[in-house]
């Protein structure tokens, strides 16, 4: 039973990790992208729709990622070029995406809340050659769909790109000190645009995973604030890819437990679902506490209402 929970933790954490990877790129580029849910829901819908019409999962995933990146481009357009406040743009894009997908769900499929069909192909689970032979590990890590493995493999890729490439350095400098980056000749807006597009790409994968692999259906607002949990993980880990992944896994475990635990102990699922948010607030408090103490030591006054 315990292994079952770990197995589903890996599964449940996958969209969180994908979305968190997307979110942390924008975080590192100095943008607080709260539209992760919006990107995901659009991808989830496009994935299901294209899988239904084309019958091909590859086409569906490509379309899902494309749709998500299109929305990311819209967000970048408004935030970076039209200078809309990122928070407002993010909120608007998210709810726009919720509304648009619900509207199209009705317009294309004639459904109010949920669409599923036998015509949608499903992913086959992969038995990982080496791991499948090991007793405990096989029950946890083997037998997932391909997107799960892609998600976990993308973590080191993103970490490498961020910390070991020129592009990653530029991205981080743009986040830390945009003026310095601009002085050094970095195209700040261009880098931000790229980060936002990549955010769309990762969230697109997350959305496609949700509607095609995690379940095979689309329901309105089916992301259930996973983007927010991913954002919480990013904030907790302060944008470090590996740490973010670990935190996302922990949050995924809390979610997995909240599904199974009530049957075992009778503990309310709400309390477990609250964990990611509460933990993140506490982490923010701890960071604030530290920096405030440091500031007080140096007697610096700092209250930026910005």
């Amino acid at each position: 039973m315990d292994l079952e929970i770990l197995h589903s933790t890996v599964r449940i954490s996958t969209p969180l990790i994908l979305a968190a990877l997307g979110g942390l790129l924008t975080y590192q580029a100095g943008m607080l992208n709260i539209a992760l849910d919006g990107f995901m829901i659009v991808a989830a819908f496009t994935g299901v729709a294209m899988a239904y019409f084309s019958g091909s999962l590859v086409v569906a995933i490509l379309a899902a990622v494309g749709a998500s990146m299109l929305l990311a481009a819209l967000m970048a357009l408004f935030n970076i070029w039209f200078r809309a406040h990122i928070f407002i743009a993010g909120t608007a894009v998210t709810f726009l995406a919720y509304g648009l997908t619900a509207l199209l769900l009705k317009g294309i499929f004639g459904q109010d809340a949920l669409f599923t069909s036998d015509a949608i192909p499903t992913f086959t689970t992969i038995v990982v050659p080496v791991i499948a032979g090991i007793p405990v590990l096989s029950q946890i890590f083997s037998g997932h769909t391909i997107l799960v493995y892609v998600a976990y493999l993308l973590v080191p890729v993103v970490a490498w790109a961020l910390y070991r490439t020129r592009w990653g350095l530029r991205l981080r400098v743009v986040g830390e000190a945009p003026e310095a980056a601009a002085t050094a000749g970095v195209n700040v807006d261009g880098v931000k645009f790229q980060a936002m597009l990549l955010s769309g790409l990762f969230c697109g994968l997350a959305g496609a995973y949700l509607s095609l692999a995690y379940v095979t259906l689309f329901s309105k607002e089916m992301t259930h604030e996973r983007g927010l949990i991913a954002l919480a993980a990013i904030f907790f880990a302060r944008g470090s890819p590996y740490l973010t992944t670990v935190v996302a896994l922990l949050f995924g475990a809390a979610t997995a437990l909240s599904v199974t635990l009530p049957q075992v102990t009778g503990l309310a699922p709400q309390l477990l679902q609250m964990i990611p948010y509460v933990v993140t607030v506490l982490a923010l408090v701890a960071v604030g506490w530290q920096s405030t103490r440091a500031r007080n030591k140096h007697r610096a006054w700092r209250f930026d209402l910005s």
Binding site: L32, G107, V281
Partner: protein, 376 residues
């Protein structure tokens, strides 16, 4: 800032200047209506017919008007709440959570306190305000004492509020029966409804009263002036002798209290009990309303009315034609997105009169600190 200019200057200005605050929202609305129309067209329906149903379904006939009024009322509270905090330079996007906590407190006091009406209604309202303010106090204190970004805290507190009130409504104080709700509010704490057509109730007068109060506060009191200066330039406000942290705290608390009142209105007037997860996102719609209103209390009345009309028209649309009420959500948030953009507003204004002023919406477009700036 023409919306809040003192009356002495107003006499010298023309009608066009008077209407200036409405120009941006109108342009944004028209653009999003066109985009929405194209969307409807793409789905094989007649946009004119759809918009016709939206308008007639919200504004024609007393029943429809009553539904519009019902939909408008919570948006008045949440839109005003967002506006109050924003004018003081704070982003209160935790209005959703504050509304839920306020509603929960109202549900508790309304159910538990056996009092005569003239005491019970005010007490329940006060409890709701306290609940909303309590929930707003968390980001406010963290902001002021520890300089933690209130945006992120608010964002996290929304689901916490939903889950926590849900926990109490399902596991602690659950009313007998299948629905996840608190027991019904006592008769003495009910805000009477106007008609049988909808759940529009006396709460709308509380909302309008709040808007009136804050119009006066913003334009005729020292506090309102201080908040405005803080919103425009907190550093200037500080060196001008304004106690910025304390004013910010109070702006946030009052904003939360108003949001809590919105929750009370829903519990005491619309539902008659606190239901788990009752809010369809009034808090987020409030952000949209506040943006559309340019953070002006009178504008909030107009913007909330518009959004309420769209919502009630959307419900009719869903019932009578085959299309989805979510068209309305698309229209609403497309408008917000366009409004948030700073792209040709200055140019439009300059083209009109050649005197581009820094509008409130422009202020929020200042480059923001990096999310990890707290470490510095």
């Amino acid at each position: 800032m023409s919306a809040e200019a003192p009356g002495a200057l107003a006499s010298r200005r023309g009608l066009l200047d008077w209407l200036a605050p409405a120009i941006q929202p109108t342009i944004a609305l028209v653009i999003s209506a066109i985009v929405g129309g194209l969307l409807v067209l793409a789905m094989g329906q007649d946009p004119l017919q759809i918009y016709g149903v939206l308008i007639s379904g919200s504004l024609v006939g007393v029943p429809n008007l009553m539904v519009t009024l019902q939909m408008t009322t919570p948006l008045l509270f949440t839109g005003l709440a967002v506006s109050i905090a924003f004018r003081a330079g704070l982003w209160n996007i935790g209005v959703e959570g504050q509304l839920l906590v306020g509603a929960f407190f109202a549900g508790l006091v309304g159910w538990l306190a056996p009092l005569p009406t003239f005491l019970h209604v005010p007490l329940t309202l006060i409890a709701a305000m306290a609940g909303g303010a309590l929930w707003a106090a968390i980001p406010a204190f963290l902001r002021i004492k520890l300089n933690v970004n209130e945006l992120v805290v608010c964002l996290m507190l929304n689901p916490i509020a939903l889950l926590l009130t849900g926990f109490f409504a399902i596991h602690v104080f659950k009313a007998p029966g299948p629905t996840n709700k608190l027991p019904d509010v006592l008769e003495t704490a009910i805000l009477p409804q106007f008609s049988l057509f909808s759940q529009a109730n006396w709460g709308v007068f509380i909302a309008l009263g709040c808007c009136a109060i804050f119009t006066v506060v913003n334009n005729a009191t020292i506090r309102g002036f201080e908040w405005k200066i803080m919103g425009l330039n907190p550093t200037f406000a500080y060196y001008g002798g304004i106690d910025v942290p304390r004013r910010a705290l109070w702006a946030m608390l009052i904003s939360g209290a108003v949001a809590g009142l919105g929750g009370a209105e829903e519990v005491m007037g619309v539902y008659g009990a606190f239901f788990d997860n009752f809010s369809p996102g009034y808090g987020f719609d409030g952000i949209a309303v506040a943006m559309l209103a340019n953070f002006n209390p009178i504008g909030v009345v107009a913007a909330a009315g518009l959004f309420g009309a769209l919502d009630s028209g959307g419900a009719v649309l869903q019932m009578t034609t085959g299309s989805s009420k979510y068209l309305v959500e698309v229209l609403q948030f497309l408008t917000v997105l366009i409004l948030a953009a700073r792209f040709s507003w200055e140019w439009l204004r300059a083209g009109g009169r050649g005197q581009p002023t820094r509008r409130a919406v422009g202020v929020i477009n200042e480059p923001e600190p990096h999310p990890t700036a707290e470490e510095a």
